[in-house]
Point group: C2
Chain length 190, copies 2
Amino acid sequence: MTQLTPRHRLVRAAVEAFAEKGFHATTTRDIASRAGMSPAALYVHHPSKEGLLYELSRDGHLAALDVVRRAVDGSDVPAERLRRLVHDFTRWHAEHSLTGRIVQYELTALAPEHLAEVAGYRRDIEATAREVLEDGVARGAFSVDDVPGTALAVLSLGVDLVRWYLPDGPRTPESVADLYAALALRMVAA
Amino acid sequence: MTQLTPRHRLVRAAVEAFAEKGFHATTTRDIASRAGMSPAALYVHHPSKEGLLYELSRDGHLAALDVVRRAVDGSDVPAERLRRLVHDFTRWHAEHSLTGRIVQYELTALAPEHLAEVAGYRRDIEATAREVLEDGVARGAFSVDDVPGTALAVLSLGVDLVRWYLPDGPRTPESVADLYAALALRMVAA
DNA sequence: GTGCTGACTGAGCGCTTGCTTAGCATGCAA
DNA sequence: TTGCATGCTAAGCAAGCGCTCAGTCAGCAC
């Protein structure tokens, strides 16, 4: 039995509740009771319900961005860079499908200044995908008509995963990641 | 200036509000005021806020299912069937991106019996995609390792569109539909 | 005119929401 | 022993929620 700080118990409870029912359908009483505390305890450790969402969303976006950056920095070969990008991006969403659902679906619940911040991380992720495709096209490894559109499409595979993926389902994160990486490579094959 | 029935004005207002802020963040007062009515007027034409969502979600699912069925019935050639499936599915989501967002993102807000009904339509759409792939593989037109996984992937392109597509943006429904249909064909190329 | 119907509103009910406040128990330092 | 910080709770406040209800009003039949 791992020991969790009260603060972290509340974070975990919020992840479960937000992922299951969405931010607006989740009450502070629900989060607190999942963490085994009274409603008021939430405000000892977090500034507000939206502040809790912001922390989850920001950390999730930064983790996903880090995964993407490490993936494309790990190789110089265009096909290998794209394979790792889609593979690791997809695997992260499968391994953190609850957090991923919050990252992808609860943007509109963020306060404007918090939305502006995470929108920047999202642009960085999309720009990284475009850069990998452009580089591959320039070096003759890929054949792509519409680079921005194809970049959106390869990321869509990992993003849309959080809509249907079940942690205890038949597909492992690794197997979906392998499948989607292979499909992405076919999309750009020269 | 087209004449709309009061009932349809409320439906349009609900589509806009639900798509913009989500079901739980939308108030009945907001829907009514967008339709130029008092809050009580909503209940003259609709049984409840959830009933309004159900009507939108059911009609949207049935329209999407109809688009998918007509697409695959329009040809006997595997590649043409898949091309039409992804093209028309994507174009429908682009042309009806507000309704599409409600169809794809507000499932959890439906009452259990309403969710069960639309889940059936969703299964029919996914089964149609699997059938097109299986038929193409059996006839030697496609090379697909994981038919269910690839079926999910080709539908994900159209589904995820509603997350970022803007009706007044640079991409027309037809251009995104063409792009995604071409990418899907590449995914299964023998 | 009279009677009726359908569309609509103003007022508001009962309830839940996010969040606050006052206060209590524990543990540590001096 | 005293003083204080930390972590928490019971109680509850103000606001907003979905929804209801009594009543108004225009239009139509006769």
